[in-house]
Amino acid sequence: MQLTNEIIRNRLTEKFGESLTEWAEPHSLLTFTALREDNLKILTFLYDDDALGFRFLTDLTGIHYPDRKGGELGVIYHLHNLVSNVRLRMKVFAPVEKPDVYTATGLFASANWMERETYDFFGVNFVGHPNLKRILNVDEMDYFPLRKEYPLEDQSRTDKDDAMFGR
């Protein structure tokens, strides 16, 4: 039987019901938001279930919404069912004061470096990660660059004037 978004949605809501919100299908990619405590449970369910079988983690990334109080830092998972060629997007949000999210490294080995990148740029603390340290930035960096409060430009330049360079 063809795996459609309807089937996925029904199976997820019958198992996790209340914790899944904000269902959407932008460009027919089923997207939902989950509570951050349940992220590993949902990922394991999507992995183990034979009808669903989302066994490939395409992407694990972060995002920062400063206006979304209580859930500023988001972790976005892109899953893929290689057998039926169906994709899924799951979002979890965590407050910026305590950005703890359970790690997916037990389930997907590729989540290791992707979570390190998310930690490096957004500061999301992945609980249970074997080696959570900076991966792309300099190790001595003391802030998380992709959070919205920090500018893109290098602040050490004295020769560029703001009028000409639109900073």
């Binding site: 792309l136 930035n137 920090y150 893109l152 430009e153 290098d154 330049r157 560029k160």
Partner: protein, 195 residues
């Protein structure tokens, strides 16, 4: 049925054969000897046998590949033998964007080179960070190593890289043999934290 030959039929005289010889330095010559000053001879020898170390990171590396290929031939200038070991090279050619994380690596490579050594920053990113005015890109390699020649461009055409190389050749030819032992050079290295 073979076609008649159309090109390259006229015999070329020796002058037109396109072979250039390096000019002799001024000196006193006689039967079987030629006397000139040592730094002129050494300058001549060094300038025409620079062994570059291509530190190619991004797009400028591709332009360097074009420069060293047959059409724009860097080998004409004596730089045929590119080495990737800093111990054996004279000229560090940094071509491409250097991230802040890569800065100590460039410095390490520079430190491993033996005197006399020169550095050419090819392209906008190596000279000043280029378009990438961000938290992760080093805004010019002169933050970590002393640079002799900057080649602007994004990426610079092979002719521009050759022009920069010819300027390095000028520097090499005219450099005094005692420059590396002098106080000004030491002060320059100290400003970079290099012993």
């Amino acid at each position: 049925m073979s076609r008649p030959v159309r090109f390259n039929i006229k015999e070329k005289s020796t002058q037109d054969k396109g072979i250039n010889m390096v000019d002799m330095p001024e000196g006193h010559s006689g039967e079987g000897f030629f006397a000139t000053s040592l730094d002129k001879v050494i300058g001549l020898a060094r300038k025409n046998s620079i062994w570059p170390l291509p530190f190619a990171t991004s797009c400028c590396g591709i332009e360097f590949m074009a420069t060293i290929a047959s059409h724009y031939d860097l080998g004409r200038f004596g730089a045929e033998r590119v080495g990737f070991s800093p111990r054996q090279c004279d000229l560090l050619m940094v071509m491409g964007t250097i991230a802040k994380k890569m800065g100590p690596v460039v410095k390490q490579v520079y430190l491993q080179m033996a005197e006399p050594r020169w550095v050419i920053a090819v392209g906008a990113c190596a000279s000043s960070g280029g378009v990438f005015d961000t938290y992760s890109v080093l805004q010019g390699i002169d933050q970590v190593v002393p640079v002799d020649v900057y080649v602007p461009g994004c990426p610079p055409r092979p002719e521009a890289i050759l022009d920069g190389f010819m300027k390095i050749q000028e520097l090499v030819q005219n450099e005094s043999l005692r420059r590396r032992n002098g106080t000004q050079y030491k002060a320059l290295l100290d400003s970079y934290g290099i012993q």
